[in-house]
Symmetry: C2
Subunit: 158 residues, 2 copies
DNA sequence: AACCAGTTTAAAATCTTTCTAAACTGTGAC
DNA sequence: GTCACAGTTTAGAAAGATTTTAAACTGGTT
């Protein structure tokens, strides 16, 4: 059996978090964090699992914080914000802004677009191929295009 | 000559505001407000002038409030917010959300798209014809498209 | 085992936006 | 003109999301 020393040391805690987050092989998130040069802390590992082991989805900081909490992961809201921004900065997460006063984070960083249901306040992915942008303007002098977002706003049919 | 009674009654004040806002014929904004069924108050007239007599532009609530102030128009920030939303609701203004935590209001309500300079935090219009969207997905079951936004994010060239 | 740069955290602070309740003002009736 | 009242405005409080701060903690090394 494993160690019998004091319970709840950081390694055990990480393993617990993993189980709680409904995880896949430990190595995935760990490797992912190492790849992007972020120290694989207990909190980052747990958040990475919640984010990347559940398929493509869109989530706010508050929602992720709540998800972590209810998965039994102890992490502060500030850390959730820090982590989301770090993940975005290293390119494993994408920020989507469609509503005033709230940011969504998208675990799908492949090229694609979005439906935004204004009534429900809810995002859905649109595969890149479903949209054809056959003409685009030249960027302003001295600037270059970093991304083209197509947001299709929808509402319930009258 | 005009009245010699107490200075600064509401009519005189409105005329002052108009002059201060660098205005065109009084009738324009007045007619516009009547058309959309908003009572033409001193504050709404002044804000309408600042918004619509300066050509197409993008402005935040804070910026409009500052502009009003420095034009000598006395108006509270709450009224600026109220007015922007009322103007949006009646369709003479459009809200553009591209940055977390801040809304821009666009005086151009004709179909068009936007460049957003991420470094400078600055919006520019793209004429509708400069973008060709030749394929779009069907909206989700039961929903209908209300608008398609194309946002081209740019940055200074490396 | 000690060290330290990187992390996490609770709490405070910030920023934008909305709400509240009271005072004010267009507008139509008389 | 003057009244009355619904619609407006306002200062200040409140809310909501996000960021900052300063101190405690921890992963990775030596």
């Amino acid at each position: 059996m494993k160690r019998l020393t004091g319970r709840n040391d950081s390694t055990d805690q990480a393993a617990d978090d993993e189980r709680r987050a409904g995880a896949r092989p430990f190595a995935d998130s760990l490797a992912r964090l190492k790849e992007v040069g972020l120290r694989p802390t207990r909190q980052r590992l747990a958040l990475a699992k919640l984010l990347f082991d559940a398929g493509d989805h869109h989530i706010t900081a508050e929602q992720l914080h709540a998800a972590a909490r209810s998965a039994g992961v102890k992490v502060s809201l500030a850390t959730v914000y820090n982590t989301l921004h770090q993940f975005k900065d290293v390119g494993i997460l994408r920020e989507v802004v469609v509503e005033p006063g709230r940011s969504y984070f998208d675990t799908n960083v492949r090229p694609h677009h979005h439906f935004f249901h204004e009534g429900r306040g809810h995002l859905t992915d649109i595969p890149d191929e479903a949209v054809a942008l056959t003409r685009l303007p030249d960027p302003p002098e001295g600037a270059e295009i970093s991304r083209v977002d197509v947001i299709i706003r929808v509402n319930d049919r009258a």
